[in-house]
């Protein structure tokens, strides 16, 4: 019995021991290990993943509505609006909600397609993406259409069509200064030009309202709201003047057409005293309101000839081509226009003077180069003074001048003029011209010889104009620039361009001497076709071979013809560059800067200088043919009328026999050349018959004048100095032949001297 009890007791004891031991083990697992694991997990989620999870949570818990900042306006220097934003609305659908509310998909697609002029099937496809909450139907719709959509939503009580405020960029001047202004992407972020470069300033800061919401999208019990003000973008005032820009675009477009220019054209008008770019043109151009469309016929032809599968990539390439601002994005060999720089260096260093003389036999040899270096006039210019060498654009003379300067000095000045680096103009993607490596350049004189007349290295058009501005303005190199002022949304000036020059390259005296010599280029030299009566213009022509374009099919190679004009030359205000890339050799015009770029520049000068308020100052010869206001003689006696006309320098003839003047041609107030003849009608009926304009293109100035006068018209002469030369012909006439016009109408003719070879 006792034995049994003992055994029972030991078994109880052992079982109790097991129970206690195992309870402890259980406590260790369930009471300690489990909680440590949970605490670790909580630490991971709440401390380590805190920010990530919180961000996601806030993302769903709040509704933030952006208040779009209005993008700044871009103004021209003459106060015109080049780019402006107007509010618009983007219309999107929430296919998920449309599906959920079982709205009529067909009706929605039909109606939106009708109102918004969007393809109906495209909308249907978007509606079928039922997982999506956001499918844009049409971005940036104007208010009128948006109102129609709103009306449709309200009438049919549809959930799932939404309008969000947005803004749309407008370019009131279309293609004007397109490469400078640039355009914005679909999301209103600048893509090209000033729009892209000054995107930060123009953008402003979007405002934000953050409100808390519950999972159903309702506002919550206790309101949590945060409001961040939108900061409207700054506006820009450019240096570009819409009128000058327009003149330059028109002039270049005409030249491209007239001379069959294949690779487009570029032009710059710069304020010589500050570096402000008054106009900058690159052709082909495009309409900023639809930048993706190709406008140039050469470009559209290229696209059409591209194979089907390459259409898209070809289109993209061509778009980039028309968006390209050749004036800063491309480099070219400046040719003879660069002689201005060589000349200024030589004068500054005193290696030549106005009394230096040069002998040109049509070619010259330079040590280290076996082949001859040719002058544009292969027969040679013979003995010439410095002024003549400049006016002739004589290569051998300039090779000599370059050698006199020496490689090291030449290289230093090239650097001082800013050709070794980009100018830093505030435009996108400015390229740097390619000049020689300093060590190589200084090791021999061959490079110097060709560089002296502007070949075998490249510059950007803007860098050339900048350097020439420095050479003629007293020697001060300025950084060229486009943005004159930045205005905040209140109109206060927050930035004003600083006109301090970068450095002085040559002395003011040297600069004056350079100007004087350059005047000779237009006054009877290779630039005579740029002559404008009443203005003193200096300049330099350029006809630069495009290295590597000479082939069997094209033995003469392609050229860039250019002209740099400076006016008024006694106190330069503007520097104008006109460059035409690859003019056709088949238009009947001798291919040279003097024949193509110079007359283009002359026409431009005759428009730009009066616009800038620079008064013409006629010389004696010029005065006779200068524009004069015709006095009104109607009602005067015949004698008094004749006296008054004589005072103004006009000749006259009378028709009829009455005492008093009853009519006159041209009518009083007309502006005609001062050597024109005025017809006074004394009682006789003024001939109402219209005159037919004759064709005078290709005629000499004398012949043209005779034919126009015979037709009852008045000729006004434009371009070229020394109009008596036998090589001067009419290049163009302002009114096309066979047009019917009133008697006494002024027909402007552009004269050109075809003997110019550079």
């Amino acid at each position: 019995m006792a034995n049994h009890r003992d055994r029972t007791e030991t078994s109880i004891k052992r079982a109790t021991q097991v129970l206690k031991r195992r309870t402890l083990i259980l406590a260790a697992f369930l009471g300690v290990a489990a909680f440590v694991a949970l605490a670790g997990r909580l630490y991971y989620l709440q401390i380590i993943c805190h920010e990530e999870l919180q961000e996601r949570a806030v993302g769903q818990q709040t509704r933030s509505s952006t208040i779009t900042a209005s993008r700044g306006t871009i103004f021209s220097s003459d106060g015109e609006t080049l780019a402006i934003s107007a509010s618009a609305e983007t219309i999107f659908i929430s296919p998920h909600e449309i599906e959920e509310t079982e709205a009529d998909k067909e009706l929605i697609a039909d109606t939106l397609a009708r109102i918004l002029d969007v393809d109906r099937d495209t909308i249907r496809e978007k509606e079928d993406k039922v997982e999506s909450y956001y499918q844009v139907v049409r971005p940036r719709v104007e208010k009128e259409l948006a109102d129609q959509v709103r009306e449709f939503i309200n009438e049919n009580k549809i959930r799932g069509i939404y309008l969000v405020p947005d803004s749309k960029r407008y370019y009131p001047f279309g293609s004007l200064a397109c490469q400078v202004v640039g355009f914005v992407r679909d999301d209103n972020v600048g893509a090209y030009g000033i729009e892209a470069l000054y995107d930060e300033e123009l953008q402003g800061t979007a405002g934000l309202v953050v409100t808390e919401k519950n999972a159903r999208g309702e506002d919550v019990l206790y309101k949590y709201e945060q409001y961040y003000d939108a900061q409207d973008g700054d506006s820009l005032v450019l240096t570009v003047d819409t009128n000058i820009q327009h003149f330059l675009e028109q002039g270049l477009a005409d030249a491209v057409k007239k001379f069959g220019v294949k690779n487009g054209a570029m032009g710059i008008v710069m304020n010589a005293k500050t570096g402000a770019v008054l106009a900058m043109v690159s052709l082909p151009d495009y309409d900023l309101n639809a930048p993706r469309t190709l406008y140039d016929e050469h470009l559209t032809a290229q696209l059409e000839s591209a194979p089907e599968e390459e259409r898209n990539s070809t289109l993209a390439d061509l778009q980039r081509l028309q968006w390209r601002n050749k004036a800063v994005n491309d480099t070219y060999e400046p040719g003879s226009t660069f002689k201005i720089i060589t000349l200024s260096i030589a004068l500054e260093e005193g290696v030549i003077s106005e009394s230096s003389t040069f002998n040109c036999v049509g070619k010259t040899y330079v040590s280290g180069w076996e082949k001859p270096m040719w002058c544009s006039k292969h027969s040679g210019h013979g003995h010439q003074t410095l002024a003549e060498a400049v006016a002739h654009s004589c290569n051998p003379a300039f090779i000599q001048i370059g050698l006199d300067i020496g490689t090291e000095k030449f290289y230093d000045y090239v650097g001082d003029y800013g050709f070794l680096e980009a100018t830093g103009i505030d435009l996108q993607g400015e390229q740097k011209g390619i000049f020689f490596d300093e060590k190589n350049f200084n090791s021999n004189v061959v490079s110097l010889a060709s560089a002296a007349f502007g070949q075998t290295f490249t510059v950007t058009p803007v860098a050339l104009v900048t350097a020439i501005s420095a050479a003629v303005n007293g020697g001060y190199l300025h950084q060229p620039y486009i943005v004159e002022q930045v205005l905040d949304s209140e109109g206060a000036v927050v930035y004003q361009h600083d006109n301090t020059p970068v450095r002085q390259v040559i002395s003011e005296e040297t600069s004056e001497r350079v100007c004087a010599l350059l005047e000779g280029v237009v006054d009877g030299g290779t630039g005579k076709n740029a002559y404008v009566a009443g203005y003193r213009i200096g300049g330099k022509t350029g006809t630069a071979d495009k290295t590597g374009t000479k082939t069997d099919a094209n033995p003469q190679g392609d050229v860039v013809v250019s002209f740099v004009g400076i006016a008024p030359i006694d106190d330069p205000e503007i520097v104008l560059l006109v460059a035409l890339d690859t003019p056709s050799r088949n238009t009947g015009y001798y291919v040279s800067g003097g024949n193509m770029a110079a007359p283009t520049a002359g026409t431009l000068m005759s428009q730009i200088l009066p616009y800038l308020g620079i008064e013409p100052n006629y010389s004696g010869d010029e005065l006779a043919s200068a524009d004069t206001n015709v006095p009104n003689c109607v009602g005067l006696s015949a004698a008094a009328a004749k006296e008054r006309l004589a005072e103004s320098g006009f000749a006259c003839r009378t028709v009829g026999s009455a005492e008093t003047v009853t009519d006159q041609t041209p009518v009083g107030g007309s502006i005609v050349p001062g050597n024109a003849e005025i017809i006074l009608y004394l009682g006789a009926e003024k001939s109402r018959e219209q005159c037919t304009v004759p064709n005078v293109v290709g005629k000499t100035a004398e012949q043209a004048n005779r034919e126009l006068t015979n037709a009852g018209l008045i000729m006004k002469v434009m371009g070229t100095s020394g109009g008596s030369s036998s090589s001067v012909y009419v290049m163009s006439q302002s009114i096309a032949k066979d047009q019917k016009v009133d008697a006494g109408t002024v027909v402007s003719v552009q004269l050109t001297d075809t003997s110019v070879t550079d």
């Binding site: 129970l19 195992r22 259980l26 369930l30 909680f35 709440q46 808390e212």
Partner: protein, 391 residues
């Protein structure tokens, strides 16, 4: 035992059952209940408000006031039960088990007017607003029945037939009935509680190794996604973000709530995830709201309270006057511990998602009352802990 001995024992039991309750344990229970009811208020008012037609303060606080009432009644019940000599449960073990099985059968009878189906699972029995889960009764029945039988089997538990087979048979029947509801989490709990009590009760080491091994193998099988069963649940567990819009929504919302809390929390009542984002925010997912509003500090403190409660529960088990009391305490403590662990693990996506409530916190009046009642049973065990021997 003679009649005299029996009388003597009853007298001793009566005296012993008048002993003092374990104060730390009572305080922990009261503290957790109080915090739980307050957190329930915070977690529930948004949905109560938005989903009511009236949208009044009364509507917003309706869930809270109901739970508060049950908590007060439950605390009263806890003290009443603690004064009841726990040995009396031994005689109720078999009837309770039969009752529990009857309820489990009742709930799965199709078209039964008393059975309530929520979320495709028929787990509730109830009439007019009052409902309860038969599985709550079954858990308690298993604890009492196991404690009663294991305590007398003593070292016979080491035998396969007495120690393992009989219990597995019973657990098998209960699991089958519960899986028919279906109620996976309840089944896991009952199996877990049963297994722990068998382990503590003294089954052979070989069986322990076999059991743990089988369990681990099962878990590995599930994670490896070899079985078609539960595969999608495991996939959601591994990457809930991939299913954030559908099956993983609840988990993702819970993680967002927990993560938003950070170290110090967004403040009591100021949580945003309860604004209809997080489903079940005042039921199974309430701990996520706790984490969001009270932060890591608050959540860790509450976990610490649970931890102390569990450890104190096991302490009571170790010091219980007899094997029956000890096993009762082990069973009840294990239940609380497992439920707490699984709930927080689910909420933090530590284990795959399954519906399991957090003791003292989750909404459910009858469940809270039953839990507090079970705490009462544990306290009644604590009353009979022999005091330190004097002299």
């Amino acid at each position: 035992m003679t009649a005299e001995e029996k009388l003597e024992k009853a007298r001793v039991n009566r005296i012993m059952s008048k002993g003092p309750v374990d104060v730390p344990f009572v305080l922990l229970v009261l503290l957790l209940t109080a915090i739980g009811v307050l957190m329930l208020f915070s977690a529930s008012f948004a949905r109560a408000f938005y989903e009511s037609d009236s949208r009044t303060v009364a509507a917003a606080t309706s869930v809270f006031t109901r739970q508060l009432a049950f908590a007060l009644v439950g605390i009263g019940a806890m003290f009443a039960i603690s004064k009841w000599d726990y040995h009396k449960w031994r005689r109720l073990a078999v009837p309770l088990m039969i009752f529990a099985i009857a309820l489990l059968v009742l709930v799965i009878i199709p078209h039964n007017p008393l059975a309530i189906t929520r979320n495709n699972a028929t787990r509730w029995l109830g009439v007019s607003g009052f409902s309860f889960q038969p599985s709550e009764v079954a858990k308690f029945a298993v604890i009492v029945y196991f404690a009663a039988t294991i305590s007398v089997k003593k070292d016979k538990m080491a035998r396969f037939k007495e120690g393992v087979f009989d219990y597995m048979l019973l657990l098998g029947v209960l699991s089958l009935l519960m899986l028919m509801e279906p109620h996976l989490s309840g089944t896991v709990l009952i199996l877990g509680i049963g297994a722990c009590m068998m382990f503590v009760g003294g089954i052979s080491r070989g069986m322990v190794v076999l059991g743990v091994g089988t369990g681990l193998f099962g878990v590995l099988l599930l994670i490896s996604e070899v079985l078609p069963y539960g595969r999608s649940r495991v996939m959601q567990w591994k990457d809930p973000w991939a299913y954030a819009q559908d099956e993983g929504y609840q988990t993702v919302q819970s993680l967002l709530a927990i993560g938003s809390g950070g170290l110090a929390g967004v403040g009591f009542g100021k949580g945003r995830q309860k604004l209809l984002y997080l489903p079940e925010e005042h039921n199974d997912m309430i701990f996520a709201i706790v984490c969001e509003e009270l932060g890591f500090i608050g959540a860790a403190l509450i976990l610490a309270l649970f931890c102390f409660l569990v450890l104190r529960g096991f302490w009571i088990a170790l010091n219980a006057r007899d094997r029956f009391g000890g096993l009762l305490a082990v069973g009840i403590t294990t239940m609380i511990a497992m439920q707490t662990f699984l709930n927080v693990a689910v909420v933090t996506n530590f284990v795959p998602n399954t519906g399991i409530s957090l003791p003292f916190f989750s909404y459910g009046g009858t469940a809270l009352m039953i839990q507090l009642g079970e705490m009462g049973v544990l306290l009644s065990v604590s009353r009979q802990i022999p005091g330190p021997k004097s002299g």
